[in-house]
Amino acid sequence: MGMTLDFSILLRFTDALAIGLWTTIKLTLLCIVLGTSLGFVIGLLRSSGNAFVRGLLGLYVELFRGTPVLIQLFWIFFCLPLILGVEFSNFVSATIALTLYMGAITSETFRASLRSVGREQMDACVALGLPRAAQIMNVILPQAVLRAVPTLLSNAVSLFKESALVSAVGMADLMFIGQNISNNTARPVEVLTVVAGIYFVIAFPLTRAVTVVEQKLLRKFSA
């Protein structure tokens, strides 16, 4: 291998990388909150209610789970403005796309966790004469949410990784800025390695945290 690595060139670009990272984090956090809330509502609606609503939402979920995130981004970025006749900023378009994606993924998480709350819990509620509202709000939902937390954390880490795709539609996130720097300096190895490293340094501890949270939660809250 006849090339020399020089990581010091990156020192010139720490500000730019920091801005890119900040954009990535802002976008990710916003879409996690919005997407998880959306997924919660959809998961609930799909677990009960009428067949029409369930079917419609089912289509939405399958659509976002069965197509590449990249094409979802392209569609929201290029097609939605044409349909609605409104121009969105990059950030807004990216937020819409990633929130819809996150909503689909987390709705499945909540649906599964609702199903996993055993039938016996309902029996206990009936035996105690609990009104329907209390059954759902005090017994079923809290358990479903607790059980969903480890998977939700996983979903959040996945979203963080998918966020790098917004670079493909010209949004100045960490990946986009990294690629720019890489092209400008003609030193892809150093630059892209550092960019990968930044993603890794954030995603890795969170992935470990998922296992820890799972054990702690499961230990305390499942009798």
């Binding site: 094409i71 190895v189 993603y199």
Partner: protein, 220 residues
């Protein structure tokens, strides 16, 4: 909206889209072959008793799981030629990049299903006098492999969708052809919708099959 839909713009140009789909399928199938086989080998390494084998392989897995696929692909396409002084065709590079990514995810899937084989089964094997190798071949592996099929399929379809990322580095897959067509015809809605539906038409049946498989396995 002052934009009239013209699906014909797409249907007249299905040729290039189908070429792209063919590339996508090649990428997916080849990456899956690599991922299923190498993933298994890697899983064995990560569960090895030798720390020398275990740590590097676990690091490999974590690297691919904790970084965006797009970063992996871009890194691969730009850096590998530079570092190793090789010049592979774009489709081949795509296969290797996607294959490595899938290997890491599949390794995790195999590892989880190996560890999910109940301890009691191993104990029964010991009680019956089976040697460690016999226990692995006759008790652990059959169950572990059977239980990992749904996850392997899910990961396989995941790679099918991730393959769209190689369009960004210029590989002429379905996504790339779609984007080219959308730009050329000024008809992003029709083009991207059709492309999305093509991806869906392949992902959805496989997903349903996985559901059916999981339901069947949980009954046995």
């Amino acid at each position: 909206m002052d934009y009239t839909l013209d699906l014909g713009a797409v249907t007249r140009n299905m040729g290039p889209l189908m070429d792209g789909l063919w590339v996508t399928l090649q990428l997916t199938l080849a990456a899956n072959v690599i991922g299923v086989i190498a993933g298994f080998a890697l899983a064995l390494l990560t569960t090895s008793k030798l720390a020398l084998l275990r740590w590097p392989s676990m690091l490999f897995v974590e690297f691919f799981r904790c970084t965006p696929a797009i970063v992996q692909i871009v890194w691969f396409f730009y850096c590998v030629p530079m570092i190793f002084n090789v010049f592979w065709g774009p489709v081949f590079m795509g296969i290797v990049a996607l294959g490595l990514n899938l290997t890491a995810f599949n390794a995790e899937a195999y590892r989880a299903s190996i560890q999910a084989v109940p301890r009691e089964h191993l104990d029964a094997g010991i009680a019956l006098g089976l040697s460690p190798t016999q226990r692995i071949l006759n008790i652990v592996l059959p169950q572990a492999l059977r239980n990992s099929v749904p996850v392997l399929l899910t990961n396989g379809i995941g790679i099918f969708q991730q393959s769209a990322l190689v369009a960004i580095v210029g590989v002429a897959d379905l996504m790339y052809q779609g984007k080219t067509l959308a730009t050329a015809t000024y008809r992003p809605i029709e083009t991207f919708t059709v492309v999305a539906l093509i991806y869906l038409a392949i992902s959805y049946p496989v997903g349903q099959f996985v559901n059916w498989l999981e339901r069947r396995q949980s009954h046995s």
